[in-house]
């Protein structure tokens, strides 16, 4: 097997062979190749089919601006569609398939679309799929969905990992061509922290693709020397294979580093790509320029490409699409391509120059004042049809045609903060405008300095200026300084099926049609025709469309204006944006101090925010969660149970004004709470709605421990800091979260005191007299370990909460279990906790749901009128205090076998069931093992006065109607005798 179109030289390692497979066929290439260059060297020009018309396509470019040569790279679960063959680095064993063709690239059944192209013009969907409406879902949408898109996803999970990272520098240089390298040398020698990023795997930019001389030696020698010096500087970091994708606010740039894309699979533990967030003081955009094509009839055949791409393939990759090529240009740069390929031994069929005064050559024919008007060749270019200056036509045999319509500076990043480029008549191109992102400047071809000398010089100057460096600039190396010589020429007159946007299949005809149909704004043109809306963002096509639009409207190009460029500069895999945040790494997991013990015990866990909490603890023989939960409730109410409640937020509040502060954040009073006592507190939002509840224990005159619900711990802390810093800045109060510091267990049930008495050191009397309901204090346990004890109860039983430093939490839980054996102690999980609090009628998150007030919760009288607190004033509003305001009630089914569901609504026993007859709703429901039927908590209009009323609980969505009775929310021990026992 040979590579028929492989040339000599270039930056590839001819000695090493890399095998690869394209569309099932074996080929080989060399290190330094891209997939596109290797295919071209192997004589393959046809690499894909176009989006709409399924026309045969080959590469238009040799870089990331490529619209055509998109392939499915890799197989299996690593298959990635729409990968640009022009940037895919060749590796041994590479596997790729062409896309958007059936059954094969050479014969594509959908190519029939090309015959019906008249129907597929701009606005096709809008015009065609108008009626009948019923056809949309069943007929049109499936057809469109099937036809849409190019490559296919693997439909399997991506096995690769992606990272995010953060780097900082004084100067970020994007692009390592002549201007970028000079800038990096200048800044690096000046001592600045520099990051030089380039999307290519080989730094050097166009210098890698040209035969130019720098300092009378090959330009590549200068590149190698510059890179060697930069690598030796500790303050300079080279980031090849890294695309700067966006310029964000205040000097933050996004960059994607392709760490492992040039490997068959990433090395163990290594990411495939890294999304870097780069923080920089200054940025220098040295992104170069992109050549633009000229539109002519059938200008999209494989083999027709940008003249600079033809040159890049020959000079850098030692590859040519054909042995006989032609060039079509409106400027001097096109001739460079002819010279370079000629020097490589490629036959130049002709150079077609639109300018009558074009330069001549002794090596090949130059057709001056001529135009390529059409092309031929079924699956690749065979002939170019040329209209000569005298109006006659000539057919030129060639397998490749290099087209050059001039160059466009790569201004994209200058537009990411709504900057608009400005038109430069000399270059016939948009150059960076004067509203650049703060801190960003532009050098080299990206700024319109197209000569090598201009790029080198501007790079050094811009770096010096950006950093305010003192001293002399490095000497600018000697290099060509040719002026731009071109005559703007956008499209061949009379052409119609001449492609502007090859990725979205937009032709000159489409642009004309959209103008004819009245689309005048460039943004409308873009959306109506889809010009520039493909993944290449129209890098090679936008200006052509604008130029035609300008001509049709009788305006200049700058008058027509441009659409705006947005990040990312080139497509980014969605996995890269996700980074490590997948599966269990989506967020951190918080484990309670008894977690490892609970796991041993076979607990079933539930996610509560980031916490994993034991939901229930199944024992042998239990096959249904209800069995476990019912047992845990019964056992706790009968004897004693232990529950890990570490997850409740704990905030240490200290200071001489601590009580004053609590008076502000709680609607009820705390100033008079005695030391050694705990009180329930309700926090309101300033608008009078309940925010959170919990307890606050007073450990000393100037020291409280506030608890919050698990869910609101972070929010409440933030709120308390707001009140402290922004509303009452001179109170003597200090806050810190201690949630993590203490392992806290609820010990509940009639035997809870007896159990704790075995653990609490004898110096501390926890009898009912010495340590009554709502007492709290510092104690020691197990022979001297500092601990805190609170006599509070969420279950309604005699209960305590005991806290020890977290590291001892595991041991304390084991101790409670072993010491509690004589009481048949059991651990209980969040389900039993929930059941018991519903039985007791305690409000929780379902009731504190962001719409309810203290009044609704049955705590209206708790809102102190004697003091100001957050939310107290607005809680007095009429609208929140109407006679039929919702009140918390209990709900039980008349038939004990029936079900209560949370979310169901309460309706009168008779009458219509609709929103206007809604009386209230159920917030929480559970099976009560204590009462042996289901119970619920809910809100009912004027509920306090309606105990005993029979109503219907309805849930139209689940088709449920249950006859219920309204009862007190306190199903168990309404008088509170147990918890005071």
């Amino acid at each position: 097997m040979t590579q028929p179109n492989r040339l000599n030289g270039g930056l590839i390692d001819h000695e090493t062979r890399l095998k690869f497979i394209f569309d099932g066929k074996d080929y080989y290439g060399h290190p330094g190749d891209t997939l596109a260059s290797a295919l071209l060297a192997n004589g393959v020009r046809l690499m894909g089919r176009s989006f709409k018309y399924h026309r045969p396509r080959g590469p238009l470019t040799a870089g990331s601006e490529e619209p055509n040569a998109l392939v499915e790279l890799r197989g299996g679960n690593r298959q990635e569609p729409n990968t640009r063959a022009t940037t895919a680095e060749l590796y041994d064993g590479l596997f790729a398939k062409s896309q958007n063709r059936f059954p094969s690239l050479a014969f594509d059944a959908m190519a029939i679309n090309d015959r019906f192209s008249n129907f597929l013009t701009a606005g096709f969907y809008y015009k065609t799929f108008m009626w009948p409406a019923a056809f949309w879902e069943k007929i049109y949408e499936p057809i469109i969905r099937k036809a849409a898109g190019l490559g296919a996803l693997s439909m399997r999970a991506d096995p690769d990992e992606y990272d995010k990272g953060f780097r900082h520098c004084d100067l970020l240089i994007t692009g390592a061509g002549p201007s970028g390298l000079m800038a990096a040398l200048t800044a690096g020698r000046g001592g600045a922290e520099v990051i030089l990023a380039d999307e290519d795997f080989e730094m050097g930019g166009r210098l890698n693709a040209e035969t130019l001389a720098i300092n009378d030696a090959p330009a590549r020698d200068w590149v190698v020397a510059a890179l060697a010096e930069l690598s030796s500087l500790p303050n300079v970091r080279l980031m090849p294979r890294t695309t700067v994708i966006g310029a964000f606010d205040h000097g933050i740039y996004g960059a994607v580093e392709r760490v492992s894309d040039h490997l068959k699979t990433p090395a163990e533990g290594k990411p495939r790509q890294i999304l870097w967030r780069i923080y920089t003081q200054k940025t220098l955009l040295c992104a170069g320029a992109t050549e633009r094509p000229i539109a002519f009839e059938n200008n999209d055949r494989p083999g027709i490409m940008l003249a600079s791409a033809l040159r890049t393939y020959a000079n850098r990759f030692a590859a040519t699409p054909a042995r006989r090529v032609a060039v079509f240009t409106n400027n001097d740069d096109g001739h460079r391509t002819a010279r370079d390929l000629h020097a490589q031994g490629v036959k130049i069929a002709a150079v077609v120059d639109t300018r009558p005064d074009a330069q001549s050559s002794s090596d090949y024919e130059v057709l001056k004042g001529a135009q390529v008007i059409d092309s031929k060749g079924r699956l690749g270019l065979t002939f170019a049809e040329v209209k000569l200056a005298d109006g006659s036509t000539r057919t030129i045999e060639c397998g490749a045609l290099g087209v050059s319509g001039g160059w466009n500076p790569n201004v994209h990043l200058t537009c990411h903060q709504r900057g608009r480029p400005t038109w430069n008549d000399d270059l016939a191109a948009f150059v960076p405008g004067d509203t650049l992102p703060p801190g960003l400047s532009v050098a080299g071809a990206a700024n319109g300095s197209f000569s090598t000398h201009g790029a080198l010089k501007s790079g050094a100057e811009a770096a010096k200026k950006a950093l305010g460096l003192k001293g002399r600039l490095p000497k600018t190396p000697q290099a060509e300084d040719a002026p731009v010589s071109q005559t703007p020429f956008w499209y061949v007159e009379g052409c119609a099926r001449a492609w502007l946007d090859q990725q979205n299949d937009v032709t000159v005809k489409d642009v004309k049609l959209s103008h004819q149909e009245g689309f005048r704004s460039v943004e409308h043109l873009k959306r109506y025709t889809t010009l520039g809306m493909a993944t290449d963002q129209g890098k090679t096509s936008n200006l052509g469309g604008l130029a035609i639009m300008a001509e049709l409207a009788g305006k200049s190009i700058p008058e027509v204006g441009t659409t705006i460029f947005r990040p990312p500069y080139t497509p980014v895999p969605i996995g890269t944006f996700g980074g490590r945040m997948r599966g269990m790494e989506f967020h951190p997991t918080r484990l309670t101090p008894s977690h490892f013990w609970a796991k041993e015990r076979g607990a079933v866990f539930v996610e509560v925010g980031n916490w994993l909490r034991a939901q229930w603890f199944p024992i042998e023989g239990e096959t249904h969660w209800r069995q476990s939960v019912d047992r845990e409730v019964r056992q706790t109410r009968a004897s004693v149970g232990v529950c890990d409640c570490t997850t409740l937020g704990k905030i240490d509040v200290q200071g001489t004004d601590a009580a004053t502060f609590l008076n502000k954040i709680y609607c009820n009073g705390f100033a008079k709470l005695a030391v050694g006592k705990t009180r329930y507190g309700l926090m309101l939002r300033e608008d009078g709605i309940a925010m959170d509840d919990g307890t606050a224990g007073r450990l000393a005159e100037d020291h409280f421990v506030v608890t919050t619900t698990t869910a609101n711990a972070i929010k409440v802390y933030q709120h308390m800091e707001f009140v402290r810093q922004c509303l009452f800045p001179d109170l003597d109060v200090q806050l810190i979260s201690t949630t993590e510091a203490w392992a806290q267990y609820a010990v509940a049930g009639p035997n809870s005191r007896k159990l704790l008495q075995k653990i609490v050191d004898p110096a501390f009397d926890i009898s009912n007299d010495a340590f009554p309901f709502m007492a709290c204090g510092n104690i020691t346990v197990c022979g001297g370990l500092r601990a805190r004890l609170f006599r509070i109860s969420f279950s309604g039983e005699l209960a305590f909460e005991i806290a020890v430093p977290s590291r001892y939490g595991d041991a304390l839980m084991r101790k409670l279990m072993s010491e509690g054996e004589e009481f048949d102690v059991i651990p209980y999980g969040t389900e039993a906790l929930g059941v018991m609090r519903i039985e007791k009628g305690h409000a929780a998150g379902n009731e504190l749901n962001g719409t309810t007030t203290a009044l609704n919760l049955g705590m209206g009288r708790m809102v102190s009128k004697a003091k100001d607190s957050i939310g107290s004033k607005l809680s007095e509003r009429d609208g929140l205090n109407e006679d039929d305001a919702l009140k918390q009630v209990g709900i039980k089914p008349l038939n004990p076998a029936e079900k209560i569901t949370a979310g169901g609504h309460l309706m009168a026993a008779d009458g219509p069931v609709d929103a206007s007859h809604d009386q209230g709703y159920v917030t929480s429901a559970a099976f009560s093992p204590t009462l042996d039927h289901m119970i619920g908590l809910g809100f009912l209009k004027n509920g306090g006065d309606r105990l005993g009323e029979k109503m219907r609980l309805v849930s139209p969505v689940t088709d449920l109607t249950v006859e219920v009775e309204i009862v007190s929310a306190h199903f168990v021990d309404p008088e509170g005798e147990r918890l005071r026992a």
Partner: protein, 187 residues
């Protein structure tokens, strides 16, 4: 002496140690911590006690590394003091005595899990973990940052290839996983 056996933040009886390409990640359970918040109007007295304790008062972004007590700045008039656990398990009580009514002292020992990350590639690891400008951090710099969504303190130690990371204890496993994963990715 009580008879409750402690476990480390990662749930072991011994601290966990992981090494990747010469960089070592070590769980450090032997650290007692307590916060010091100056009382309103007593800031000067509080700073005086801090100076006596540490030799100087850590300013924003800074730590004072010193034996047996060290400290770093956490917020306005707000510091964290650290000391060896074995000798200072009652650190908070000791500080209450020392600071009197000039500061509010809160035990923080088990609110945090501490990890030491040390070795030649430490900076490369940190670059994948958080947005700190780790290359510019000097010995004695102490910054709060987010690692895997967890608010952590990062303190650069002496020698400079060493940072100590304090993260929320309940998420020690996630934090360790994030650090260890970054070590494998970066090194």
């Amino acid at each position: 002496m009580h008879d409750l056996a402690p476990i480390t933040a990662l749930g072991g009886t011994e601290p966990r140690i992981d090494t990747v390409a010469g960089v070592t990640l070590t769980e450090k359970p032997g650290l007692a911590l307590a916060s010091i918040a100056a009382r309103h109007g007593k800031e000067a007295a509080c700073r005086k006690h801090l100076k006596a304790l540490l030799g100087s008062v850590p300013e924003p972004g800074k730590a004072k590394l010193r034996d047996p007590e060290a400290g770093f700045w956490m917020g306005p008039d707000f510091w964290m003091i650290g000391a060896p656990f074995d000798s200072h398990e009652d650190l908070a009580a000791q500080l209450v005595k020392r600071f009197g009514t000039s500061a509010s002292v809160t035990e923080q020992t088990d609110a945090w899990a501490a990890f030491d990350l040390q070795g030649d590639g430490m900076e490369a690891v940190m670059e994948l973990c958080c947005n700190l400008d780790i290359r510019q951090m000097q010995t004695g710099d102490a910054q709060r940052t987010s690692i895997h969504h967890l608010g952590c303190y990062v303190i650069r130690r002496d020698p400079t290839d060493w940072v100590r990371i304090l993260g929320p204890r309940s998420s020690a496993g996630s934090l360790h996983h994030a650090l260890h994963t970054a070590m494998k990715a970066a090194l």
